[in-house]
């Protein structure tokens, strides 16, 4: 029997590449947690960069507002238009406001807003910190002992953690407004009636878990965006890569966190 050594060698090389990829994957996870730990440590230092934190809140909150407004409105509108025919078939049109409000508050609002934020905020942070890394600005902060993690990362992550829940609540409100507009396309309903019908169904315990999970969405988006930017390489193309992979990973983690949150809520309630 003759062994085809070339083929075997090729297989070995391929296997080597595969294990290398796996290694890099796990190294990446390890680095991410080290980064998160470093950030957590710096968060509780005495010198908090308050003005930078406010600036970031403004950047994240205010600058994302128009985008969230439009999406929120359309989300409610579309949801209403889509579900109305089914409810009409079952003769349950009066359930419409409550059903739409419930799905917006529990799931649609948080997840859609978080995904948009992952796109806008995550990529922004990835690109900004990435280009600072490439042009050695982060190194310059590091060598001048001005604590770049404290100044750049802690402020951004906390700002995202605080602002994403606020944006979600705002999107929820606009979603319900959009839903009212959608209901008015077919029949005229006063806003007060629509609103009271909606909130006859929604309870406080629908709100609470949804709001709590949005804090985690914010933290994840901020942390991933900063991590990807901060660990960018030294070439120009790594800025684009950092921004891109920040969006991909942040979106993915938002969905995973959502899954975990839903499971936990389900178990507890």
């Amino acid at each position: 029997m003759k062994i085809n050594t070339v083929a075997v060698k090729k297989q070995v090389i391929r296997l080597g590449e595969k294990t290398r990829e796996v290694n890099i994957f796990f190294l990446g996870i390890g680095e991410f947690f080290l980064f998160a730990r470093r950030m957590a440590k710096e968060t509780f230092s005495l010198d908090f960069e308050f003005s930078e934190f406010l600036r970031q809140c403004f950047q994240i909150g205010y600058k994302t507002l128009p985008l969230i407004s439009v999406t929120g409105l359309i989300m409610g509108l579309v949801l209403t238009i889509q579900s109305r025919p089914v409810l009409v078939d079952f003769g349950a049109v009066s359930m419409l406001p409550g059903m739409v409000a419930l799905s917006i508050i529990r799931e649609m609002g948080p997840v859609i807003t978080a995904l948009i934020c992952a796109g806008k905020i995550g990529s922004g942070m990835g690109a900004e910190l990435g280009s600072m890394k490439v042009s050695e600005q982060i190194d310059a902060m590091e060598v001048s002992s001005t604590h770049p993690i404290r100044f750049l990362v802690v402020t951004r992550v906390l700002a995202a953690t605080l602002m994403v829940p606020i944006l979600v609540l705002y999107a929820d409100a606009l979603g319900i407004l959009g839903s009212w507009a959608g209901a008015n396309l077919k029949e005229s309903v006063t806003f007060v009636l629509f609103f009271s019908q909606a909130f006859r169904v929604v309870e406080f315990m629908d709100f609470l878990p949804a709001v709590i999970k949005t804090f985690f969405f914010g933290a994840v988006i901020g942390l991933v965006g900063c991590y990807k930017g901060y660990s960018a390489g030294y070439g120009t193309e790594s800025v684009g890569k950092a921004a891109n992979s920040a969006v991909v990973l942040a979106s993915l983690l938002v969905i995973i966190v959502d899954l975990i949150a839903v499971q936990i809520t389900d178990m507890l309630l």
Partner: protein
């Protein structure tokens, strides 16, 4: 053994060692950049490091502030082993070191004034706003940028950016200065100004410096001692006269640019 012995300047007492590097090696993947390099910097001296592009000069000073971790060898700065320092110790040590980046590395989201304010506010916490503003004004004046304090880095020319970056480095009064090509890309007049400033800083605050440069004029003006790097090793060491009178080809090729 003899080769690594440093020539001690003639003086009654032996000056204190500020930076001591022993058998430093550093590589990236297959590329070996620094090979077993040893050097010393004494208190209050200007050490000029010459070398071709890509010879590892920037890597050398990045190892000194631990922006890069060496593969082998020890680096001692002000009596502390840089690679064994914990976060806090490293931060304290770095406060005493000024590092001028080759690229300038100005914070491009801040004005020139804010660039200078950034380290000043965080390192010299005791200064009042007024003292801080005065200090910034004085330093900007020194580098000839007094009227650009409210501009963004992107609005400045390359040379101005370099000078602004130098201003940001010296504003916190470091006691060790590492200059990575301080005069590259500047016209001869401004270059002379920067060289004079480097000497000024040395005299006024007794700083010890490593000056990386290709600019022979700058080396002439500032050097107490010169080291030439080649292929990651020290090729020659001496004072400016040794280099100018050398018959060695490699050295000649550097010095004949401006004979």
């Amino acid at each position: 053994m003899f080769k690594n012995e440093t020539v001690i300047p003639v003086s009654t007492k032996i000056p204190d060692l500020v930076i001591e590097i022993n058998n430093l090696s550093k590589g990236f993947a297959a590329l070996q950049v620094l090979k077993n390099l040893s050097l010393k910097v004494f208190d209050g001296e200007n050490l000029v490091v010459l070398g071709k592009s890509g010879s590892g000069k920037s890597v050398l000073i990045k190892c000194i502030v631990r922006l890069l971790n060496p593969d082998k060898g020890t680096i001692t700065v002000l009596g502390e082993n840089v690679n064994e320092l914990k976060d806090k110790g490293l931060a304290t040590l770095r406060e005493k070191i000024g590092f001028l980046f080759q690229s300038g590395a100005l914070y491009d989201s801040m004005t020139i004034k804010q660039n200078l304010e950034f380290p000043l506010r965080r390192i010299k916490k005791k200064l009042t706003t007024k003292e801080r503003d005065e200090k910034i004004e004085e330093v900007l004046e020194n580098v000839g940028l007094a009227d650009t304090s409210h501009k963004m880095p992107s609005e400045l020319s390359g040379g101005m950016r370099k000078r602004a970056s130098l201003a940001r480095t010296i504003v916190v009064d470091p006691i060790i200065m590492l200059y990575d090509e301080p005069t590259t890309g500047l016209d001869p007049v401004t270059s002379d100004g920067i060289s004079a400033l480097i000497n000024d800083i040395q005299k006024k605050s007794q700083t010890s410096s490593i000056i990386i440069t290709h600019d022979i004029e700058c080396a002439r003006a500032t050097a107490d001692r010169i080291i030439m790097l080649k292929d990651g090793e020290i090729y020659t060491e001496g004072n400016i006269n040794d280099f100018e009178n050398s018959t060695d080809e490699v050295i000649q090729s550097f010095f004949k640019q401006k004979a």
